[in-house]
Symmetry: C2
Subunit: 387 residues, 2 copies
């Protein structure tokens, strides 16, 4: 296992690297991409199953993100790297379906013609909810040290007992939020959702702070203090708690409520403080609605995914505290290292080629506040040809 990120794109041009099996998840704000690459010649030793030896290919899954509004950059990238020529002949690997890739998310419909026209490839559409569930199940069951809780600023990686995984609530925070009750492989129901999601944080945040990017906004929130703008219980009660109903003086009574009575314009607030209040409001709200839905169905485990989280400490802390507060410790918020790629991974697993379990994941040395959207952990695994 090597420390590596997909920033090492020059590697992809190495003659020994064979790239295949691209899957894309085209959301409202971001395009997420997963592809497989045999990054070195490696003998596959499957002594238990020699008959299939020739059909196994060892390699890595790589992850990439682009903004949906810059889809042409994504298409150019795919084209330049020939990522769509997935059916590379290698170790008996099939060359069929060269011109089709698995795709999910609304953009699989919206941009189908564009992919055809620009790259000459068809998008084989995989249902969005189905992809999210497949991706989450794959990560939780096949990738070690994937799921973790976040308590007091610490990631605690969890050993998930496969026999005790279902049912769970999957909360995918993309531009909007989907909440899915997962009962097994391919067994799920979208039970709720909210339009107050990552697109709200980014969109409202952009209007309020003039941030240049999502990560810029996250970085600002990191430096901010929400108490400057949020109305706390103590602000209403003259510094007192309202303990009769369990609210301390520092609990937020009204997000952005202080702006009502202060004679200040937007420009007079620090954008950092505005970003912080916004992040807190949205994270807390999602945590609360997730908890209420988990409660409906008696679910104790809530997995949060989606690009919104981005491993950001304050986001995970707020969600964890919200779930803990509302459930009085009964339910547990869990996060996934490859949180943003559930849909893309789910579409990828739809190729039905991933063979080796458990996979191993590259060391995940991620700075949550980095500018580069593409910083994500690789996963080592084996693919099996489907025919």
């Amino acid at each position: 296992m090597e420390d590596s990120t997909i920033q090492d794109l020059t590697l992809l041009n190495s003659p020994v690297d064979q790239i295949s099996h691209l899957a894309v998840d085209i959301g409202g704000s971001l395009i997420k991409m997963v592809y497989f690459s045999t990054n070195r010649e490696k003998s596959v030793d499957k002594t238990q199953n020699n008959s299939s030896k020739d059909n196994l290919l060892s390699g890595r899954l790589y992850f990439l993100m682009f903004e949906t509004s810059k889809i042409n950059e994504c298409l150019d990238f795919i084209s330049s790297k020939q990522l769509h020529c997935r059916g590379v002949q290698h170790h008996g690997f099939p060359a069929s379906d060269k011109n089709t890739i698995k795709a999910t998310g609304g953009g699989a419909f919206k941009f189908a013609d564009l992919f055809k026209e620009k790259l000459g490839i068809s998008l084989d559409k995989v249902d969005e909810m189905s992809s999210l569930v497949s991706g989450a199940n794959f990560l939780i069951k096949s990738v070690p040290s994937e799921a973790f809780t976040y308590v007091n600023g610490q990631r605690n990686y969890e050993q998930i007992d496969h026999n005790d995984l279902y049912p769970y609530l999957l909360v995918n925070i993309g531009s909007g939020v989907s909440m899915i009750k997962v009962d097994g492989d391919g067994k799920y129901e979208r039970v709720s959702g909210t339009s107050v999601g990552g697109g709200t944080f980014w969109g409202l945040g952009k209007l309020l702070t003039k941030c240049k990017s999502f990560d810029d906004l996250l970085e600002m929130s990191h430096q901010g203090n929400n108490r400057v703008i949020d109305m706390l219980v103590g602000d209403i009660y003259g510094g007192s708690d309202y303990l009769k109903i369990g609210l301390t003086s520092t609990a937020i009574a009204s997000s952005f409520g202080k702006a009502v009575s202060e004679d200040k314009e937007l420009e007079e607030y620090r954008p950092e403080d505005v970003a912080r209040s916004l992040l807190r409001m949205i994270s807390n709200n999602i945590g609360q609605i997730a908890y209420l839905n988990a409660l409906r169905f008696g679910l104790k485990k809530i997995f949060f995914g989606g690009f919104f989280i981005r491993g950001h400490a304050y986001t995970m802390d707020t969600i964890s505290v919200a779930v803990d507060f509302w459930s009085k410790g009964e339910a547990k918020a869990m996060f996934l290292r490859h949180e943003g790629f559930l849909g893309a991974l789910g579409a990828f697993t739809n190729y039905q080629l991933v063979e080796e379990f458990p996979c191993t994941a590259g060391h995940y040395n991620r700075n949550p506040l980095v500018e580069d959207l593409n910083d994500n952990g690789i996963i080592e695994c084996c693919l099996r040809a489907s025919n």
Copy 2:
């Protein structure tokens, strides 16, 4: 019964008008006030109960609002009208406790010293949740044509069967939101709440639109189109629905999500459209969380109160549609004409003097978009001296 509003303040100086029993609810953003006035000499005919005749006083309840940040205006008003001199001798009415008024809300703690210093009166604090519940029960049970549903732009006044009232969910949307399960008179539990409330709408709205007042913001939202800024399902799916999970192309996928990809600054959006998106986001969110809490306890009736609503058609429509959508028609959103005064009325009923049932309410000719916060319906009733 007369058409009248508390704008007719000159009436209060008439020698035959005796003002008494002021109660205040001092919230984070607004001060709500209720007081009783014998606005004419009127014989009280209670043939069934002659013994108590002399202790009954016929009159009206009046309603007023001030911004909490302008509390001095409120104090000046109370002082100039001598509203705090409640113990007026009249028909054997007691003169005790001249220097004490019932008060609820956090400001009853925060501003107690100010009331003492400026007006020489003490605030007799009534618990906030208890006041909300007493106020709601009083309105629902004692004031005819108080509760209504809002469907397709129409108010449908409901006859509430007193024997079938409990349990219900009371959702009070002030600066923040409290959700209270009400099981009877004085029997209740605050089961949930959210910091995304009226203070969020007003505070964020002020930062985003530079509106001059809450009503200015509501008026703007009335003129706006949320689709300019909200990301709809169809925006992601290229105009298509996502019917497999019950979402039409016009459903909001991400509130404010369109601002992510559009290269526009805040000033390039119409404030009306921003206000509309904000109102939709917050109303829908409250409706959803309310429904999820009603579901927890099997409650079919949800009464919405609090100053946020202000009889605004779009707000009530969004909340009603949210409750109907999420509950698949099982739960019903209901509104109250005196929605903003639950706490103040509850504190008032704490005097335990209201006698005549049912009360009659003044014709409620309210324009939801008026500038004047004070436009509210009077209630005619009788008070009984407590000793």
